[in-house]
């Protein structure tokens, strides 16, 4: 059963799904939803399957997913034969869920700030830039503590979907004027993600860092 991704190339949430699919070497069908500009997500046929009108949306057979972190879990669970992107080990797995919740929580402020800065969209945070900066500090602090144990990645000693859920916000920080000079450990971590076989970029993410 083929995966269909209702996609927009400029959204960080769609990028994290494309990135995982690419890292797994998977083919999928992408269908562009006409937004930024446009209201393609308001079209009746789209709202019928996705009442919230969110983009991206992933459809695989009977499964319809509208939340990017849920898509990462689903793709890893069903298609990662190696079982590494969503580890079976309870400790690593718990950490993955913790950081997925973080990515779906305060880290969304970075995308809100980005869409505000680029397209003038009203953010759902009072000060999205401040929340984004605080979120970056939290990841930086976590990675610094991990580095004391000789670990590079967010939730295990190898990359997991927790890294993929967090990476787009960090890689697109320049779009909201946050420089990586404030977050040296984040930069080192981002370089490791760049180096993964199958890595792809999106507009705003540099080919080389």
């Amino acid at each position: 059963m083929a995966i269909i991704l209702y996609n927009h190339d400029l959204l960080a949430d769609a990028y994290k799904v494309r990135l995982l699919l690419s890292l797994l070497g998977m083919d999928f069908e992408r269908r562009t939803v006409g937004i930024l500009p446009g209201k393609g997500n308001d079209a009746p046929h789209y709202r019928e399957i996705n009442p919230a009108g969110t983009v991206p949306m992933l459809v695989e057979g009977d499964i319809v997913l509208t939340r990017p972190e849920a898509m990462l879990v689903h793709i890893a669970e069903r298609h990662d034969k190696g079982g590494r992107w969503l580890p079976a080990d309870p400790v690593a797995r718990a950490h993955v869920f913790e950081w997925l919740a973080f990515a779906a929580g305060e880290l969304t402020a970075t995308e809100a700030a980005r869409l505000q800065a680029m397209f003038g969209l009203a953010p759902s945070f009072a000060d999205a830039f401040a929340v984004a900066r605080t979120a970056f500090r939290l990841i930086e602090g976590h990675l610094v503590r991990r580095s004391l144990d000789g670990l590079t990645f967010i939730a295990a000693d190898y990359p997991t979907i927790a890294d993929i859920a967090i990476f787009p916000a960090v890689a697109l920080a320049a779009d909201i004027g946050i420089g990586m000079e404030e977050f040296p450990r984040l930069l080192i971590w981002a370089r490791q993600i760049h180096a993964l076989p199958g890595f792809v970029t999106m507009p705003g993410v540099r080919e080389v860092i």
Binding site: L10, T32, V33, L36, P37, G38, A117, D175, P203, G204
Partner: protein, 290 residues
């Protein structure tokens, strides 16, 4: 924020919205040259621009619609909106590509649009290839008869020149700066190599160092959907935006000693010289609020 007093800037036309987005029930609040404005559409279909706040609160400014955009001026331009014959060809697609906010002067946007040297590095594998970075010799001139800046005989190897491209091509470019904040280019059309696609970048100078960019595509393309054409252009422009937001100063220095041009910057040199002859200062490094 108050309206600039730069007469050269005031006496020109600017895009302040996309025609299709401004409806009787959906007016647009925005800012031009430091002045807040309200763009509205009446029930009879005509558009109006009204100044909000400042010394001339409530004054109506001239408003016209061309090429899918709403244009306005606060002053008395000595000419109308520039002609663009291609927009009226029956088989052309005229596609407005949304808006992007940029923390840089509109003059910086025009200068970046004129630059070919950044293609391989900023638009890698799309508008340029890292192993083919050379800008071949081209000509740039100020055309006094039409009061525009033109760059001609530009050539650049492009892996993916347009949404409809199936492979690489040697693209031929002609650049045309029609007003200080509005620029277009003509480039080889992948589908009809004897014709040129037209791509325009209109910038609304919100403040001296802040802009809203409006890309426009006027293309011969029987394959791509509107969404594909918009997406192609948006991707390109967001790559440019990173560069634009990181340039310092955010305004454009007109003093020839301020930056070091190379042979590839011939069009930029002509552009800056033209701005100086027009006595335009708004958006330049030399500009000071009166």
């Amino acid at each position: 924020m108050t309206m600039t007093k730069d007469m050269a800037a005031l006496n020109d036309w600017y895009v302040v919205g996309i025609s299709a987005d401004v409806r009787p029930a959906a007016p647009r609040c925005t800012r031009l040259l430091g002045q807040d404005i309200l763009v509205t559409r009446k029930d009879d279909g005509t558009v109006a621009v009204t100044l909000e706040g400042g010394d001339e609160d409530g004054r109506a400014a001239r408003a016209e619609e061309h090429y899918g955009f709403i244009w306005t001026t606060f002053g008395a331009p000595n000419r109308g909106i520039f002609p663009l014959a291609e927009a009226f060809e029956p088989d052309r697609r005229v596609v407005t590509c949304g808006t992007v906010d940029v923390g840089a002067s509109g003059l910086r946007l025009v200068e970046n649009f004129l630059d070919m040297a950044h293609f391989p590095f900023v638009h890698t594998d799309i508008l340029g290839a890292l192993d083919k970075p050379e800008v071949e010799q081209y000509q740039a001139e100020i055309r006094a008869d039409v009061d525009e800046v033109w760059a001609t005989n530009c050539r650049f190897w492009q892996p993916l020149a347009a949404a409809a491209s199936k492979g690489g091509q040697m693209s031929h470019y002609v650049y045309r700066v029609v007003t200080p904040f509005n620029v277009l280019l003509y480039k080889t059309c992948p589908e009809a190599p004897d014709r040129f696609d037209v791509i325009a970048l209109f910038s609304q100078p919100v403040e001296a160092d802040r802009s809203i960019a409006y890309p426009l595509m006027v293309v011969v393309d029987s394959i791509s959907t509107d969404e594909d054409i918009v997406m192609f252009q948006q991707k390109i422009f967001l790559q440019d935006r990173i560069i634009l937001e990181n340039q310092r100063p955010r305004t454009l220095p007109l003093d020839p000693r301020a930056e070091i041009p190379t042979r590839a910057d011939l069009s930029s040199v002509a552009y800056r010289r033209w701005l100086k002859t027009k006595a335009l200062r708004y958006g330049s490094y030399e500009y000071e609020e009166a």
